[in-house]
């Protein structure tokens, strides 16, 4: 399942996948795969992404 909310939050901050990846300390491919729903990040990485994008875990990762 694609993570559209992550992509929206990233574009709101005017960040490319590579830029977000650099901020949270992973590769661009990993961010791409998270957005595509093909990789489940650890809680540590989820928190790191949330802090970078000023969002809560619910806002980015909770499935409705």
């Amino acid at each position: 399942m694609k993570n559209v909310r992550l992509k929206i939050a990233r574009t709101e901050h005017d960040l490319s996948q590579a830029e977000l990846a650099k901020k949270v300390g992973v590769t661009r491919q990993t961010i791409g795969l998270i957005e595509a729903g093909k990789y489940n990040p650890t809680l540590q990485l989820c928190l790191s992404i949330c802090k970078t994008l000023n969002k809560t875990l619910d806002e980015l990762f909770w499935e409705e």
Binding site: G25, V26, T27, Q29, T30, L33, Y39, P41, T42, Q44, L45
Partner: protein, 171 residues
């Protein structure tokens, strides 16, 4: 608790790399075992011939046992195994010890019957004699070795886990 300090890496890449290393480990073990079999067939069943392979097999196994015990995952592996299997790990180790003892006794008995006996009757006599003597010597030794090693490792691993839990309660 790493052996050396590493730079922070992408968790997904690290996971995939670890998966590959795991596959490499099995591959190396398989090649080493194949080498032992090949050398036994072509050169002979002497320990000197396969000393390097034995060192690789024993060294890797011992290292894994020590590391998994010191990190506390050994007892968890046993717990998972005992939950999913009808035979407990402890019983399995007992059977493994018995199987190794039996295999050694059989190989020594066959060797004595083939190489030292003159005639069928003497061959049977040598086989039976060497088989039972070897069995009484090696089977208890290997059973004790596997069971004691397992229990000692589990006890140590439980202690490590308990210590980690105690530290968490203090915080």
């Amino acid at each position: 608790m790493a052996l050396w300090n590493k730079k922070p890496a992408d968790e997904r890449v690290t996971t995939i790399q670890n998966k590959i290393y795991r596959e490499i480990y099995y591959l190396v073990m398989l090649i080493t075992l194949a080498s032992v079999v090949f050398k036994f067939i072509t050169i002979g069943t002497s320990l000197n011939v396969v000393l390097t392979e034995v060192l690789i097999l024993l060294g890797a196994s011992t290292y894994y046992l020590i590391r998994s015990t010191s990190l506390g995952i050994y007892s968890e592996e046993v717990e998972i195994h005992d939950t999913n299997s009808k035979i407990t790990r402890n019983k399995k180790n007992f059977y493994w010890g018995l199987a190794i003892g039996l295999a050694l006794a059989l190989s020594f008995a066959t060797n004595s019957a083939v190489n030292y006996a003159e005639g069928t009757q003497q061959a049977i006599h040598y086989f039976v004699l060497v088989f039972f003597v070897s069995l009484f010597i090696y089977a208890p030794f290997f059973i004790m070795f596997t069971v004691i090693t397992h229990n000692a490792a589990k006890k140590r691993s439980d202690q490590v886990n308990q210590k980690l839990l105690d530290e968490e309660e203090v915080k």
